[in-house]
């Protein structure tokens, strides 16, 4: 897969692209592809500054069910601004991924563990692999920073998100009963970027 900032990939028509930590109920049927929307250029960039925070919060609050305070957004975005990737179309924010990278030392070896905290794409811009691209770009940055595995949680009912991550090679690592505040169960997903036996 080749992705760059202006890619508009339309072959995947299955991603719901509103994931993590939990997403609001998605309609059973996806809205039809809007050819006008698809023809517009999508620009990807990392978080620049506080002036973008409100837009990110609005987007997440619209599509994620979990209520996050401003402190949660700041925790992630201000600590790892380069891991907050945004997708815009004609200057309008249409998708964002918010991530974390923890550096730790295990058995005298430096290890980076990535975490995808939030991902959302505006409904009318879905089915264009924007979510996949956002995740891909954030993981690429994590790899540059020494990341060895990436984890996230997704609601068991969020089939679109599960498919998106599954297609990227994430596997379900653990089942979490009533994980979210709305009492919905979750799976913890993991993507392994290094061999388990490397050491």
């Amino acid at each position: 897969m080749s992705i760059n900032n202006s890619d508009i990939l339309i072959e995947d028509s299955k991603n719901s692209e509103a994931t993590n930590s939990s997403s609001k109920d998605q309609p059973n049927t996806q809205p039809p592809n809007d050819p006008i929307v698809q023809s517009k250029e999508i620009v990807y960039h990392s978080y620049h500054g506080e002036e973008e925070l409100e837009g990110i919060m609005q987007l997440m609050q619209e599509y994620l069910s979990e209520p996050y305070s401003i402190y949660t957004y700041r925790y992630f975005i201000n600590n790892w601004p380069q891991l907050c990737i945004m997708a815009s179309c004609e200057g309008k924010l249409i998708g964002t991924v918010v991530c974390q990278l923890e550096q730790m030392r295990i058995d005298d070896v430096d290890t980076g563990k990535g975490y995808i905290a939030m991902l959302a794409v505006r409904e009318e811009f879905r089915k264009q692999r924007i979510g996949t691209t956002l995740v891909y770009k954030s993981i690429q940055k994590m790899i540059e920073l020494g990341c060895e595995e990436v984890i996230l949680e997704a609601e068991v009912t969020n089939k679109g998100a599960l498919r998106l991550y599954s297609n990227m090679g994430f596997i379900k690592d653990r089942y979490l009963h009533r994980y979210y505040l709305n009492a919905v169960d979750a799976w913890r997903l993991k993507l392994f970027l290094k061999s388990a036996y490397k050491n």
Partner: protein, 725 residues
């Protein structure tokens, strides 16, 4: 400006309009820290535990540019997640808290229908708590559980007070066991009073008097359980239920005195019958449109951590089923207590954990009682003769010369010392295994990953070491007393079962992606083969010991008994070996099916631009790397022996036919088992359906599209029905 609650964990101060926070990744960070002395003392009477931080912020802001932010290093993600914006309904749940309307409350002159409605709602609260919710949001969301003296109605008061006492026992049982889910806080008491100052006898007396008073007022004779109960009789049934439940909790609290457990069992049976009749008579409950009128829904959310999980009370019908299941499962726990040997206890505990009829059964309360009882004070049932139980178990299992009283080596002090040392070594791991069986199935999976396999690996190494030492002693007497691999076989046999269970747990929680099924079934097939070999090894060991013993006790009655015992055990291992062979055939059937479906492009592996299939494989089986035996199968071996990506596309139908044939041979094997277990019946059903599906697939049915197959585990949790679309 935000007010800082000094009792809250949140430490960040919000500034507007632009902020930047200290960053590990951003070198241009500026951090300003508020000196502690800059924080002004409290000035607001209304918020006695709050501090006015206006001046502190102003002072700190002087050195900040626009876009910078005050940040305390210790402000963690948890703090961020826990922080609330006061008055914002989305994060500040508590600002939406409703006050109970207590204008009418629980009046003395409530109709019997109203009383039934209130009592049934309390049962719903109990059932919802059992589902893993907090007391604040369930039983104590009823205003009068905290203020039972305010209840004017005698029946409701008596019922409520008894329920509070029951809740105390249940809560303590959950707390002691520690098997609740990590996110649940069922055992927190929030400083509520549980009527500790009222003695159990006073509650029992109050209940008995209330029932007698009501029956005499209504001219009721002791009601029999029958289908046409009146409204009044139905009300008495509810009092009897709470009476019986309270007796049960008092009796269970008498553990480890086992003499009370049978009475508890009998009361539980009564309670289950009562619940059935209470379900039928719920129709007598008055219709309630606003529960707050009776004091329900008045949870004090300020007691909960920020952003509490939302809780809705279970409907009555579901609550009745939940309570029935709980009681049935507690009765099962008592049944386990009846066993007097380790083997039976272990098997019953494994079944209790593995074979729930419904999802989430057994629930946390039953698992808590099980854990508290079987592992009481880190000994089985608190039995301080645990080592003797284990010795009996190993002796029964493989009859090693070191434990056989007729062998010369068993009498040697050196042997006894080694045996006792081995038993002491393994006790902790055995208890650890019993603990994990009391967890929910989902947590069993992670516990196995994190600790159990590591402990079992050590136990296996210990067993091997003791076998070697004992072998040296045995060789001094005669070749027949060679102590080759007895303890290792015992550990390995159980270890292999747990390994199989671990992989199958992944199916239960749908952890495996479709592309992973191939290597999971491949590894399962390997483990089943190891189990067969282990069984054969144990048969040989049994035969060797029997032969050695037989030579010494010629003509004696003991010889005949030993021979008969041996035959029974060998027969059991034979049956198991045959069944394991059937399971291996089924696994191969799945392997060929997946290979055929992969060639038909119905199963597609992700592109893996990031990561690799190899890494997924390694992580799935990483917990097995703690074990020297069975040898872990590395990815290279999987690729070399059976990699799905090396197949010839022309072999598609051949693979599907082969799958069908393997299922067919497995079916024949299952048909030949005279008395099938329920699990074997289920597997047979699955196998029959898979034979048909694979035959159809081999003839091209549904093979002209790339729709992925479905692996349906609705009949068997381990062996799916393959469905094509």
């Amino acid at each position: 400006m935000a007010l800082r609650n000094t009792t809250n964990q949140s430490k960040e101060l919000e500034l507007t309009p632009k902020t930047t926070q200290e960053s590990q990744c951003n070198p241009n960070i500026k951090t300003a820290t508020i000196p502690d002395q800059a924080i002004a003392p409290s000035i607001q009477d209304i918020f006695s535990d709050y501090e006015n931080i206006t001046e502190a912020i102003r002072t700190a802001c002087i050195e900040l540019d626009l876009g910078e932010m005050i940040h305390v290093d210790s402000f963690t993600l948890l703090d961020g997640m826990s922080a609330i914006e006061l008055g914002d309904a989305k994060t500040d749940e508590k600002c939406t808290q409703k006050e109970a309307i207590l204008e009418s409350g629980i009046r003395e002159d409530m109709s019997d229908g109203e009383v039934i409605a209130v009592l049934d709602q309390l049962l719903c609260c109990l059932a919802t708590w059992l589902e893993g919710n907090t007391l604040v949001q369930t039983v104590f969301s009823f205003y009068y559980t905290v203020n039972s003296d305010d209840i004017q109605n005698r029946i409701v008061r008596c019922f409520t007070r008894t329920l509070v006492k029951i809740m105390f026992s249940f809560k303590e049982a959950v707390h002691r066991a520690g098997v609740q889910e990590e996110e649940d806080a069922m055992d927190l008491s929030f400083n509520y009073s549980f009527l500790e100052d009222i003695q159990p006898n006073a509650i029992k007396e109050e209940l008995a008097n209330t029932i007698e008073w009501y029956c005499s007022n209504k001219n009721l004779s002791p009601a029999n359980l029958m289908d046409d109960l009146t409204l009044e009789e139905s009300l008495v049934l509810r009092l009897r239920l709470i009476q019986v439940l309270y007796s049960v909790t008092c009796l269970l609290d008498m553990f480890p005195d086992l003499s009370f457990m049978e009475t508890a069992y009998s009361h539980i049976t009564d309670a289950i019958k009562l619940i059935a009749f209470i379900s039928k008579t719920h129709c007598y409950a008055s219709e309630v449109t606003q529960w707050s009128v009776y004091g329900f829904g008045s949870s004090d959310l300020t007691l909960l951590p920020p952003n509490p999980r939302k809780t809705s009370l279970l409907p009555f019908n579901e609550s009745a089923v939940c309570l029935k299941y709980s009681l049935e499962d507690i009765a099962s726990v008592i049944s386990i207590l009846r066993h007097d040997n380790f083997r039976a206890i272990y098997q019953a505990t494994t079944s209790f954990s593995k074979d729930p009829i419904e999802k989430f059964r057994p629930n946390v309360l039953a698992r808590s009682y099980l854990k508290s009882m079987i592992c009481y004070r880190e000994h089985l049932f608190g039995n301080f003769q645990f080592d003797i139980w284990l010795k009996d178990e190993i002796k029964f299992f493989c009859n090693p010369p070191s434990l056989n009283s007729t062998s010369k080596m068993s009498a040697k002090p050196q042997t006894r010392k080694l045996v006792n040392l081995f038993l002491t070594h393994v006790q902790d791991t055995v208890i650890e295994v019993m603990h994990y069986l009391c967890l929910s199935r989902a947590r069993q999976y992670t516990t196995l990953q994190q600790t159990i396999f590591q402990s079992l690996g050590q136990m296996l190494a210990d067993a091997d070491s003791f076998d070697v030492q004992l072998h040296k002693i045995g060789e001094q007497f005669s070749p027949q007393e060679a102590h080759t691999g007895y303890y290792v076989s015992w550990v390995l046999y159980h270890l292999l079962q747990i390994m199989t269970d671990y992989l199958q747990l992944g199916f239960e929680y749908d952890l495996y992606s479709l592309f992973e099924y191939h290597y999971i079934f491949w590894y399962l097939e390997y483990l089943l083969g190891c189990r067969q070999s282990c069984g054969e090894m144990i048969q040989n060991l049994l035969a060797a010991t029997s032969e050695a013993v037989g030579k010494k006790g010629k003509g004696s009655g003991a010889k005949k008994r030993n021979k008969k015992d041996l035959e029974t055990k060998v027969q059991a291992f034979d049956s198991e070996r045959i069944f394991l062979n059937i399971l291996r055939l089924i696994n191969i059937g799945y392997l060929r099916a997946i290979e055929g479906l992969k060639l038909a492009n119905k199963i597609i592996c992700p592109e893996f631009d990031l990561g690799k299939k190899e890494y997924c494989y390694e992580q799935r089986f990483l917990p097995f790397s703690y074990l020297s035996t069975p040898s872990p199968l590395l990815y290279e071996k999987y690729v070399k022996n059976s990699d799905i990506d090396q197949l010839n596309p022309e072999d598609r139908d051949k693979m599907l036919q082969s799958s069908s044939k393997h299922f067919q041979v497995a079916k024949t094997g299952l048909d030949n088992i005279d008395v099938k277990s329920p699990e074997q019946e289920k597997i047979l059903k699955v196998v029959k359906m898979n034979i048909v599906t694979m035959n159809l697939a081999a003839s091209g049915h549904k093979m002209n599209n790339t729709n992925p197959p479905q692996f349906d585990f609705s009949i068997s949790k381990q062996f799916p029905i393959i469905r094509l679309f």
